[in-house]
């Protein structure tokens, strides 16, 4: 008799699906000829990343990823594409493509080795208690206690960004 | 600034009043005439396409083929032909074809008729999948009716 999958197996299957979504999204994002499709790829990739966050025991971050990246950043990019209406990109030369692939490998290896370096050389204590109830209490606590300085700085950065974006975007409109 | 508050409160009030009116109308009796179940009655002066009028006694059309209606029609809908049977005093209509698809329902044919030989029908709900259905042979229609 065929054994039915356990919930854990299902979770693993879904995880694989999420990985596939993430990578596919990323590939579309960098390869699509039309920018609007690239953004769609980016959206797919972000949705995948949000799924990964969920598997990393942080539903809160997963949802924030959706809210900020999908809901804000991608929408802004689509708007920019609408405003600028670029033509489809010119065909990438072969040489360029090879260079790109090399860069991809180099980048990936670099990043990977850095990560491994980090994990192996540093002295990490054992992972602490896992939280999976999506409680944001802890995050809130450390955000406003341990990292309150950074928190304030971020808000200043955001304020500056808003003002800067406004100034830059307004400069184009000249009253007749 | 006072305009701002006037807009805010006056505007909100106007919106509430609007809601009141629509909800009031929810309880107004329905005015729909449910056509295929409800058969409307046309007014006596309703202008449908024209019909030949038969003589009350004989049932024969009153038309004498004078051609006034044909002449009066702005769009040339009417084609009629007649003959004078031997011994008869007046002409008798042999065919009276109305191309209703050209008609503008102005009623000038009926007005121009000095003999009361044509009248308006009460056909208000004509529809068909074939447009030739509306080229009426009025003489035949009259015969069928009687």
């Amino acid at each position: 008799m065929m054994s039915l999958p356990t919930p854990e197996d299902l979770a693993g299957l879904i995880f694989l699906g999420i990985v596939a979504v993430t990578v596919t999204g990323g590939i579309i994002a960098v390869n699509a000829a039309r920018l609007i499709r690239a953004v769609t790829g980016l959206v797919i990739c972000f949705i995948g990343v949000a799924g990964l966050y969920y598997y990393l025991n942080s539903p809160f971050l997963a949802l924030m990823e959706m809210l900020i990246y999908v809901g804000a950043v991608c929408v802004t990019i689509v708007f920019a594409i609408m405003l600028a209406e670029p033509e489809p990109e010119k065909q990438v030369g072969k040489q360029n493509a090879i260079a790109g692939i090399i860069s991809l490998c180099v980048g990936a290896v670099l990043f990977w080795s850095l990560a491994v370096l980090g994990t192996e050389k540093a002295m990490w204590p054992a992972a602490s208690v896992k939280i999976n109830d999506g409680s944001i209490l802890d995050i809130g606590q450390s955000l406003l206690k341990n990292y309150s300085m950074a928190f304030e700085l971020i808000s200043i950065v955001l304020l500056m960004a808003i003002i800067g974006a406004l100034v830059l975007a307004r400069a184009g409109r000249v009253k007749s | 600034m006072s305009g701002y508050y006037r807009d805010l409160f006056g505007g909100s009030w106007s919106l509430l009043v609007g809601l009141g009116i629509t909800i009031k109308n929810m309880f107004v009796p329905i005015v729909t005439e449910q056509y295929p179940h409800f058969v409307p009655v046309m007014t006596p002066r309703f202008r449908g396409h024209i019909e030949l009028v038969g003589d009350e006694e004989t049932g024969e059309p009153k038309c004498v083929v004078c051609g006034m209606c044909q002449k009066a029609c702005p769009s040339g809908c009417i084609k009629l032909a007649g003959e004078k049977p031997e011994g008869a005093k007046k002409k008798v209509v042999t065919s009276y074809i109305l191309d209703f698809t050209r008609c503008s329902l102005c009623g000038q044919c009926v007005e121009s008729c000095n003999f009361g030989a044509i009248t308006f029908s009460k056909d208000y709900n004509l529809a068909s999948t074939d447009k030739n259905d509306f080229i009426f042979d009025l003489k035949k229609r009259l015969e069928e009716k009687s």
């Binding site: 039915l4 499709r37 949802l63 809210l67 809901g71 | 701002y4 109308n25």
Partner: protein, 371 residues
């Protein structure tokens, strides 16, 4: 009730297959079901239930809307198809599904196909966290409130891509309008929600409802001790949810008289149908959220009546009725009017509310404690 002759006529050929196939299916399910692990069972059931609820609501809300508007306008509305026109949504669904799905020349095909799904799927996903009663919730997530907003933000992208992918100027303008409107109204809405989170100390929808236990004066709508502006907060939330779901008088995205059919101008058949379903699913979610946050969810208005999901549905459908009632009463605002409302009225009000609430929540107890 005697089935409508029409229904009988159509359904007769289906009786035999149903009689034979349904028991077979049921039997098969009976044997297989126990083998499925409990966790998966629950997931499957809730998935089916949520999709069925969303789809059924979308279909019958259209019917309800047509009936409501008809009665507001002294008409009958759908009547001839089935008793009270109840089969009308089914018939419309059949027609839309059997309609040719035209993909016009010049559209960006993948985007064009994906956009309606981007509207519908997040909307249905949001149903997962909505607690219809204490136990009747597909998945009780701690960050349920956040999840709904996260998914709602995907909805915006669906409109944008649908409009842009259509390669139609009306659709592009409509999409741009819909998005600027959505973005503008997300601000007061989120501020109001933040206020509510400050009061409730949780993002868990179940808990928020449980906090409103008791009679109706315990509902957050009337919880003046948390903020004297609670009814205003509710109004802000309601208006924003109207705008977020692109409902009249904020339906700039599909302004018929200006932009033909807005962002779904080029969609035919089920593409259009899916957009439509997404819209109605969003209305249901907006109303449910208002019910959960302000109107005490499944709690009965007076304590001697039993609580239960029926109260939730009653309140939700009442709000949906209000949404329809508003739609059929007012003309459409312009983009400027809409942004003015958001920036000059709703955002200041919600900020005042935020300040007041934080005062009431944090400073007031301190003062009281000190004295």
């Amino acid at each position: 009730m005697i089935p409508h002759p029409e229904t009988r006529r159509v359904l007769t050929p289906f009786i035999l297959p149903t009689v034979v196939l349904l028991p077979l299916l049921a039997g098969g399910l009976y044997f297989v079901w126990p083998l499925v692990p409990g966790g998966v069972q629950r997931v499957l059931i809730s998935l089916v239930a949520v999709i069925a609820f969303a789809a059924g609501n979308a279909a019958y809300l259209v019917w309800l809307e047509r009936k409501v508007c008809a009665h507001i306008q002294r008409r009958i509305g759908p009547k001839e198809v089935g008793p009270f026109g109840l089969i009308q949504p089914v018939v419309d669904g059949i027609k839309l599904m059997s309609k040719q799905l035209l993909i016009p020349k010049g559209v960006d095909k993948p985007l064009f196909m994906v956009a309606p799904l981007l509207v519908l799927v997040p909307a249905i996903m949001s149903f997962v966290t909505i607690p219809f009663s204490e136990d009747l919730v597909a998945r009780n997530i701690n960050v349920g409130l956040l999840m709904i907003f996260a998914f709602a933000s995907v909805n915006v992208l669906g409109l944008l891509l649908g409009g842009w992918g259509s390669n139609n100027k009306y659709a592009v303008i409509a999409a741009a309008r819909a998005v600027s409107q959505n973005v503008a109204y997300e601000i007061p809405m989120l501020i109001t929600v933040i206020t509510m989170v400050m009061v409730t100390h949780t993002l868990n929808l179940n808990e928020i409802v449980i906090q409103q236990d008791g009679s109706f004066w315990n509902w957050y709508l009337f919880r003046f001790s948390a903020s004297p502006l609670m009814p205003v907060a509710f109004l802000i939330f309601f208006i924003c949810s109207l705008a977020e779901t692109n409902r009249a008088p904020f339906d700039l995205g599909e302004a018929e008289s200006e932009l033909v059919a807005g962002f779904h101008t080029e969609y035919s058949g089920m593409g259009f149908g899916v957009f439509f379903m997404g819209e109605y699913a969003n209305i249901v979610i907006g109303s449910s959220l208002a019910v959960i946050l302000f109107l005490g969810g499944w709690q009965s208005p007076v304590s001697f009546l039993a609580d239960g999901f029926w109260w939730f549905l009653l309140k939700m459908y009442f709000l949906i009725f209000c949404v329809m009632w508003i739609r059929w009463t007012y003309p459409r605002t312009t983009l400027w009017g809409l942004l003015n409302l958001s920036w000059k009225v709703l955002i200041p009000l919600s900020l005042i509310n935020l300040l007041l609430t934080s005062f009431m929540v944090k400073v007031w107890p301190l003062l009281m404690g000190a004295s």
